[in-house]
Subunit: 305 residues, 2 copies
């Protein structure tokens, strides 16, 4: 009698995905008393049971190992081992269910783990937005200009200054002549030197940072190819830019200033620009990169392992 039921279920039903609790309820009537104990424990606390061995679960339910195995079989698994694996999967699923609402703003009293999650989420969002909003035609043109430039001058102040330095560092590494100007006055002084065939890049989130616009204007007037990386393509900086690369503007909160997400966005744009240039100048870029690695290796103390 009961053996029929066993066969029907154990053969008919696949290893069962997440519908475990339901299955237990369906099969419960056809189970013997001690098997029901096991099934209940499993349905009630999958995560907890996943941590137990056969013996452990047998003790916890006041039954024997044999019964546990029998129950696992009835539930459609080849043995307890597989039931346990399924249980672990189930537990992981439940885990993900109660993630903190990462879309919410970062609050003053958020636990540190939430801060990490929210921040990571926000920055991922910023990246996606930036990638989606980036004009590849403009980017292509900027890449083309930079690849063949005699020299590349980069302007940025404040947080954008770091982005500019980052770009300059990388371009230098692949053998291009790039310089990030930090002092606005010197930037203007140097911009005067530019001429056709040179490239000037201005980085400003607000699109209206005078200290950055001014050198770009001078470069523009001197005939250099000018590029603006800004979150406000309608800002004054675009007036003097041959190519405008738009960064995204994520929402900001009191604790999370705009500078933070704009930096993420700017860096992505700058990276794209860099890789584009590296592709175009691959012949010279590759060995130059290799050489700079080589040089760096000597600055490192030997590893522990």
């Amino acid at each position: 009698m009961t053996s029929d039921v066993k066969e029907i279920f154990s053969s008919g039903s696949p290893p069962a995905p997440a519908a475990l609790a339901a299955k237990v309820r369906t099969l419960a009537p056809s189970m013997t008393r001690s098997m029901q104990l096991v099934a209940e424990a499993v349905a009630g606390d999958p995560a907890g049971c996943a941590a137990l061995t056969v013996t452990g679960l047998a003790e916890r339910t006041g039954t024997s190992e044999a019964t546990v195995v029998r129950t696992a079989r009835l539930l459609g698994y080849p043995g307890y081992r597989d039931l346990r694996l399924a249980l672990a999967g189930l537990a992981a699923h439940q885990e993900s269910g109660r993630a903190p609402a990462v879309t919410a703003d970062i609050a003053v009293d958020d636990p540190i783990a939430d801060v990490v999650a929210k921040l990571a989420y926000d920055e991922q969002q910023t990246l996606a937005d930036t990638a989606a909003g980036l004009d590849t035609v403009q980017l292509g043109a900027a890449v083309a200009a930079a690849s063949t430039a005699r020299r590349i001058d980069i302007y940025g102040v404040g947080a954008s200054s770091l982005v500019g330095q980052d770009l300059a560092q990388k371009l230098l590494r692949i053998g291009l002549i790039a310089h990030a100007h930090m002092d606005p006055h010197l930037a203007v002084t140097n911009a005067v030197q530019l001429r056709s065939g040179d490239v000037a890049i201005a980085i400003t989130h607000s699109g209206c940072t005078g200290d950055v616009i001014e050198p770009l204007r001078v470069a523009f007037d001197r005939g250099a190819t000018t590029i603006a990386i800004t979150g406000r393509p309608d800002g004054p900086v675009s007036q003097y830019a041959d190519h405008v690369l738009t960064t995204s503007t994520a929402r900001e909160s009191e604790l999370r200033p705009a500078a933070m997400s704009s930096r993420t966005s700017q860096l992505l744009v700058v990276d794209c620009l860099f890789i584009g240039v590296a592709q175009r100048t691959y012949e010279t870029a590759a060995p130059a990169l290799a050489a700079s690695y080589e040089a760096l290796a000597h600055r490192h103390t030997p590893r522990t392992r």
Copy 2:
């Protein structure tokens, strides 16, 4: 020697939830060849590996059971059995959210639009990995130390230098005394001034940049609270760090140097640190932030529209 590493990791890291792929990448460099084979298999096909026994996985990777167990240990599990359970959980996770197909490496002849998409995807991945792999306990401790520090010194060279400057800029904005040292010699000279109650932060992807380790060591010896932000928590820099914050190590390619993704990762960590500190010092941080916005507004030319 290797046993030290084992201990650091197996004790420090909890069974790890979904950050397995990230963890594998972080730890891969400190693994032996055959262990890397196992780690790769596990990271590459969690679901498939979850279905295998030790012996099965050993055969599949062409190694021995012993190696499989060793790898499981290194990844932070008590043994293979537990790794397998975690794998089952991971597989269940993946089941729900199917990954997009931009996982390919950036090639020399990729059109610019692909570069943008791949780069954005990679950086998003890096962020997710970093967030998943970040030890919130260590982060919390670092935040606590920084919040009450008399002064905060930050060391970084090369690309990491920019990250350090970014952090310093932000901390300064909320009224803390922070300084990013760029010159290694000056950094050491200044580190001597530190004492208990001060905080020193070293940023190095490789974990073995002498120019950065040296000032941290001095700070450590002087009794300051030391923090390391590194992609190699088993590297020499950790010796002198009270708290180690691990950045993730994304795969790199010829065109996409490690510096690029490590920077993304480092910035996320730094942002988390900053926001944590801002939360803790909200009373003073909020007005300080507001004031710095105010000051910046005057540096902007009026918008066109």
